[in-house]
């Protein structure tokens, strides 16, 4: 019951956090938003799953954030991009030529892209209600916002940290959809293991360049 009441706030939460992850550059803030995003995922998954299974999703998400955070702490500070010192993404991901687009244009571009994605999610979500029996509109909306925003991040980000967070975001959206049709504990466990596995691989990819070579 409580999950039904919190459904719309959860959708707004996942939309805002996924947008923030896209725009914000500072890795600490991005991990924070990822952790908050998983609260929204927990609320949406909780509409279909027993609370103890939904909590597993939340814990797996938080742990994956912690794993990525610890890996980022292990990277020598001199090797972090200079833009990390700014809280907001300024340019580097989009800079393909010598002239950097201004900060405002970058933000505007991200916001417009995110708006398009949210509009696409709003238009698709009602259709999914016919395809997946038992799904609520809020779940479909939240899921598609996450899937599309995750895909958007995958398109814009080229470093392991951004890519892994994009994959985790898209996967979280899929997990909301899948929770409606499958409530097997084993599948939930496997999916949580994959979430953690992705975070571990992400942390490996972040730190691998600084490890001792083994060729």
């Amino acid at each position: 019951m409580i999950f039904d009441l919190l459904a719309i706030p959860a959708v707004i939460l996942v939309a805002l956090t996924s947008l923030s992850i896209l725009v914000v550059r500072n890795w600490r803030l991005r991990i924070l938003f990822l952790a908050i995003q998983y609260i929204g995922v927990f609320l949406l998954v909780g509409m279909s799953w027993p609370i103890e299974m939904a909590v597993a999703k939340l814990v797996a998400g938080w742990m994956s954030g912690a794993i990525l955070g610890m890996a980022m702490l292990g990277i020598p500070s001199y090797d972090l991009p200079k833009t990390e010192q700014y809280p907001i993404d300024v340019a580097t991901d989009l800079a393909t030529s010598g002239t950097e687009p201004s900060r405002q244009i970058t933000h505007l571009f991200y916001l417009l892209a995110a708006l398009l994605v949210v509009l696409a999610a709003i238009s698709i979500a009602p259709l999914i209600e016919r395809w997946i029996p038992g799904i609520r509109l809020a779940q479909a909306l939240g899921a598609f916002i996450l899937i599309f925003m995750g895909t958007l991040q995958l398109a814009f980000k080229s470093r392991p940290f951004g890519v892994v967070i994009g994959i985790l975001t898209a996967l979280a959206g899929f997990e909301i959809l899948y929770s409606v049709v499958e409530n097997s504990v084993l599948v939930a466990g496997f999916l949580s293991a994959i979430t953690l596995g992705l975070a571990m691989i992400g942390s490996y990819l972040l730190t691998a360049p600084y490890m001792e070579g083994q060729e």
């Binding site: 890519v163 994009g166 994959i167 996967l171 899948y178 691989i201 990819l205 691998a208």
Partner: protein, 486 residues
Amino acid sequence: MSAPMIWIFLPGLASIGLFFLRGKQRLITLLGVGLCMLLALLAWTLPIGRPVSLGPWSFLPVIQITDSFLFLGRRLVLENSDRSLLILVYLGLAFWFGGGYIARAGSIFVPLGLAMGVLLTAALAVEPFLYAALLIEMTVLVSIPLLSPPGQSVRPGVLRYLTFQTLGMPFILFTGWLLTGVGSEPADPGFVLRITSLFSLGFALIMAIFPFHIWIPMITEEAHPYRAVFVIFVIPTVVSLFALSFLDQYSWLRSISGLFTGFRLVGIIMVIVGGIWAAFQNHIGRVLGFTIITEIGLTLLTISLVEPAQSISILAGSQTSGLTLPPGFLFAQLLPRGIALALWALALTTLRRSPDQLYFASLSGISRRYPIATTSLLLAQFSLAGFPLLASYPLLLQLWGAIGSQSILPAFMLLIGIVGLVIAGFRTMVALFKTSEPQAWQISETRSERWLLALGCGMLLLIGLLPQWFYPTLFNLANLISVSAP
């Protein structure tokens, strides 16, 4: 004792154990190859589900290897008829691991490669089959350190690979959910369309089918050639087995109009894209990548030749069929392809020792320093391009004939792709042989490299010269699809 315990859990534990020995590469390789050979031998000799005496004396106990193992409420099933699959998997792993030591694939190659083999075997054995998608994703995660080893910067190809493979998993899971409880063809065309779309997208993402193939040349350019080819060869091969078993289990899927036409269309696109792009590359690693794309296209073309009404297992089983392709054709392709790709990767690893770059410009005259590696590379490349008297030629000719007998246009397209591969081969040959200054011939390959490369060349030539000795046996090897269907 159960079969999954022997062929899944035991090697799984061994892979974990080998990981902790990673300082001792020679020992790891010996143990890995030995274990895989032992498991293949056990699969050859031990019947599953029947009593087996432990020795010639009557006082020794008689054991029976059961075919299933209950794991967290789900079943892993390896039946007696799966033994040929197990032999193929573990012999293949032993083959790759043996070459890995000489190719300096690193000390994590055997433990992670074994873990990949175990997870993929589990993916083929698990019931219900939707868990296979999760196991394949775990295999992908395990394979990442092979493509991006410690001490090297992460390249975009690895991230693309991880992204596409991970995005493919949800589509397979949803296909599995949609198919649950569906015994015959559903009446709702919308439902059929949804299943077809999800199935096609999921397998296209995982098997690197056009347009999701772009990570292959990126990885073969960036990563260690031997490890890259191992991952790219193993995962799509097992996933294609899984996809075929999927089609075999839900026979009504095969009657969906357009499915096999789609396979053929995508297969032709991949052959053309792979062949033409290979011809224009200036990096041998990328040429290899585009050649692999062509090979995936050829696999799709082979699958597309199945009549919708017939069982897909005719490509693997020994049933007689009206097709021009002999039964087991799909699996017969694996031998020449596997040998040629491994040989190519080993030769590239040898050439990469110096000058550490595989661009045509930086390899000028290298044939004089590495003549055996150069010859091996060219033989492998021309074999995959279907050059006469080399291993892939008889199969390619048969496939071409089968396609041509149905329609001339796809056969012509196939020819364009193959010509592209041949041109790429000649360009590689020119790049490796041309030299601006006179240089004396010398053999710089190590002794073990020489032997292994010569062995690979010999096998490609032998299979190509005496196909009647090898291919009938391979055609009969099959039975894999129908029996591996989860």
